[in-house]
Symmetry: C2
Subunit: 210 residues, 2 copies
């Protein structure tokens, strides 16, 4: 390398995530991304093949950070901790959380799909998360991991905590203090497999705000 780069690949990805989080997928035009970074559009095309590649990279980056947070806990057979980890993950970076949890891939990649290597990388991540779920169900349950048990686990650990956060993400407000309690209680009433967490309700289920 002979000329030092003024911008990094990550600058463009961060700008893309922020723009989509703020104004939806169509707000992330190549010009808007460049303007936010302070670079000319040519510098984006020097690093990425196309807009679909930028969006794909952004999606994979955000998805990977969530998988890295959840998968180890799942493989350890700790579904409750995994579910509770989504809240701090979303607080860690509000843009990233809004980008990943408030957008469907079909809306993000409507113009053209991401290039093949990115699609493969995403499938790999999805496979990793899926395997972690299966391992968790096997560890917690009675061994027979049928479709229903897997769907139950994904709902209780993944989709339900996200559904608790979504209304607040959507209106850009911080999640309330009782969100954590709501997530925790999910893992007492509804069975994943044989596991039931313990009591019917946590001891402090009726406590008010701490």
């Amino acid at each position: 390398m002979v000329r030092t780069a003024r911008f990094t690949e990550h600058d463009f990805i961060d700008a893309t995530i922020a723009l989509v989080a703020e104004g939806g997928p169509a707000a992330a035009t190549m010009q808007a991304i460049a303007r936010r970074v302070g670079a000319p559009t040519g510098s984006i095309y020097h690093r990425f093949d196309s807009r679909a590649a930028v969006l794909g990279m952004a999606w994979n980056t955000a998805y990977a950070s969530l998988v890295r947070t959840l998968a180890p806990l799942l493989r350890d057979g700790r579904p409750r901790e995994a579910a509770l980890a989504i809240l701090p993950w979303s607080r860690e970076d509000g843009y990233r959380a809004r980008f990943l949890l408030l957008n469907e891939p079909v809306s993000l990649f409507e113009d053209s799909p991401p290039p093949a290597p990115l699609r493969q990388a995403l499938e790999q991540l999805e496979g990793e998360l899926d395997a972690a779920f299966q391992a968790c169900v096997a560890a917690c349950g009675d061994g027979t991991a049928c479709d229903e048990q897997l769907a139950r686990a994904k709902f209780l650990i993944f989709d339900a905590p996200i559904a608790i956060l979504r209304p607040y993400l959507s209106r850009g407000a911080p999640p309330p203090s009782f969100a954590e309690r709501m997530i925790a209680e999910l893992h007492c009433g509804m069975p994943i497999a044989g596991m039931r967490g313990g009591g019917r309700l946590p001891p402090n289920a009726d406590a008010r705000l701490p």
Copy 2:
């Protein structure tokens, strides 16, 4: 009226909902809507002020159909029936369900917000649903409807059933037969207010596919 209209307002709204459901918000261009209906673009502008007005009308229509399904049950103090009603509602019209449940308003109205009358109508609908939730919490609980109880009710009755359906809506697959059971079980383990539904698990919680 002197010349009979070949198309109705509803034709354009239906086409818009279908297009967004299939390919995301950006797929619903004025030309694509016109082509799907078999009309020229001028016929859209004869009925709607702008693209934002078409999308806004489509959103309000879909939202209203869901509110009309849920609100009466909530006002009757039947949260469990309301939660279970979302599944048949989504089966009734897959396009409408995908359109409403898989898109955030911020993504749909990113270019320009809907005109004021439509925004007001939507606020009215949101207010109606909110009031129905409050009435339901008041009817089922001990009267003190704090923020947390309301958030719990909205999650158990609205967001959680949607979260159960979302993965299937997203990949265009029909929801599995156990989806209904999962929704029903939510209303046994986690309290909305004082109400707890009855047993800890429904009698047939361990039954396999019927």
